[in-house]
């Protein structure tokens, strides 16, 4: 028997690591992976609540989040490839001009 608090703390820790990744990394791909990690941390909390409440709604929300993440990755990676084509770099510090 694991108290649900443990799952929530784990979720908070994973979310913070994701947020930290967005803040300190400069590689656009790694920033993007950190966003995925944050989505995943939220999913973990939702499934934990769903398990405690004996309800399927949390699991279905997670299902939608996974679908949205897949859509987001498709568009985001297309954008990154496009930025790389014009800047020859995916360093976010280089993306400092409005005109591509």
């Amino acid at each position: 028997m694991v108290p649900i608090n443990y799952y929530i703390i784990l979720s908070a820790i994973l979310f913070t690591i994701g947020a930290l990744g967005v803040l300190i990394r400069r590689n656009a791909l790694i920033i993007f992976m950190s966003v995925e990690l944050m989505l995943n941390a939220a999913n973990l909390a939702m499934v934990a609540f769903s398990s405690v409440l004996k309800s399927f709604s949390g699991q279905i929300f997670v299902f939608f989040v996974i679908a949205v993440a897949a859509a987001e990755v498709a568009v985001g990676l297309a954008l990154i490839v496009e930025i790389f084509k014009s800047k020859r770099s995916i360093d976010v510090d280089q993306m400092n001009s409005m005109k591509g």
Binding site: I8, L10, I13, I17, L23, E36, N43, V47, V75
Partner: protein, 173 residues
């Protein structure tokens, strides 16, 4: 200390360690592989929480499709590692301090104010039956039918958007 608690702690350690590995790896390919391991660990958590369908979706969609796409783009761009350059030297320590603060704050608020009660019991045999999946499907297609359809449109828009972004510009500049 029960067996489930030990299992939880070991898996939590792996999850946090792989997330940190993703964060500090210099090479983007290593980061992606650490993240795959993290996603698989979270899938095991879903199995422990009695959500086998979500666990399998996690492995196929996240660890399978999304991370393969990531690895493909990393290798396509040849962007494994960036040259070291600190534009804002004070930003990294500040970010780490704020992140630690955020963890403490979030844990404190979630535990003391939200007061989640309840314990995660190990899932019984009922989870592995077809009936569990049938109930999930009934909930999905009865209560959440409209969000489901909106998701299909969202996926279509994402697909079209990705193609529009990537295709060669035919206009004469």
């Amino acid at each position: 200390m029960t067996l489930e608690l030990i299992l939880f702690l070991v898996l939590a350690l792996i999850a946090v360690a792989t997330a940190m590995g993703m964060l500090i790896s210099r090479n983007a390919v290593y980061s992606a592989l650490f993240l795959v391991l993290n996603f698989v660990t979270v899938a095991v958590f879903y199995l422990l929480l009695g959500a086998p369908f979500i666990a399998m979706s996690q492995v196929t969609v996240y660890a399978g499709a999304i991370m393969v796409l990531f690895l493909f783009v990393i290798m396509l761009l040849g962007a494994e590692s960036l040259p070291k350059a600190e534009v804002l030297p004070w930003q990294k320590p500040l970010a780490i301090f704020l992140a630690v603060l955020l963890t403490v704050e979030a844990s404190y608020v979630l535990i003391t104010r939200a007061r989640p009660v309840g314990e995660i019991l190990p899932p019984g045999d009922a989870v592995n039956t077809m009936d569990n999946l049938r109930q999930l499907g009934m909930t999905l297609f009865n209560e959440y039918l409209l969000p489901f359809e909106v998701t299909s449109i969202l996926l279509l828009v994402a697909m079209v958007g990705a193609i529009v972004l990537i295709r060669k510009d035919r206009r004469v500049r």
